[in-house]
Symmetry: C2
Subunit: 103 residues, 2 copies
């Protein structure tokens, strides 16, 4: 839970990233999301379950509706991974440029 692995695979799917992008712009309900996307409400609901499991979104019951919004905390592990990749890659690239005949 809240595993880094889940976050990557969650946003690895195109449809889920589309849903996430919509939620980043504005919090919405399930039906609103389904109306903006070429899939049924059921599919959206299942995707939201995955995103919620990864800690990327949170849901708030609001009357009849249920509003989904992005959770900044869920993005933190992704940023951590990406920063680590970034630094290591940059360091390796720099080292390779400075010493081409190394290794």
């Amino acid at each position: 839970m809240t595993n880094t692995n889940d976050s990557w695979t969650a946003l690895g799917d195109t449809m889920r990233r589309a849903i996430f992008e919509l939620l980043v712009e504005d919090p919405r309900s399930v039906t609103e999301l389904a109306r903006a996307l070429p899939v049924t409400r059921s599919a959206v609901s299942q995707h939201l379950k995955v995103l919620k499991g990864a800690g990327l979104v949170v849901d708030t019951p609001a009357g009849k509706h249920r509003i989904y919004r992005v959770d900044p905390n869920g993005l933190a592990p992704l940023r951590a991974d990406l920063d680590r990749y970034w630094m290591k890659a940059l360091a390796a690239y720099k080292a390779a440029v400075e010493q081409p005949q190394e290794e």
Copy 2:
């Protein structure tokens, strides 16, 4: 190509992320990667093709071997997306906290 979409889906796969993590630590050849992973050399080669297509890794012929290393440029679009998510999510969260009865 070098599409943002490709980058996310490329790293969305567990095995590909494992390969990428290994390459982040140290540049390696295909056989070395295959030896460190529970899949065949062929599978690794196909995954590397995807990662290369996404601009996340580059290959350098080195004698008999072919060394794969991560490409910092490929990570840039991912960082851009993630930063955008981050800022928007944080702004929305802040706004929600400051004005709970909004919307």
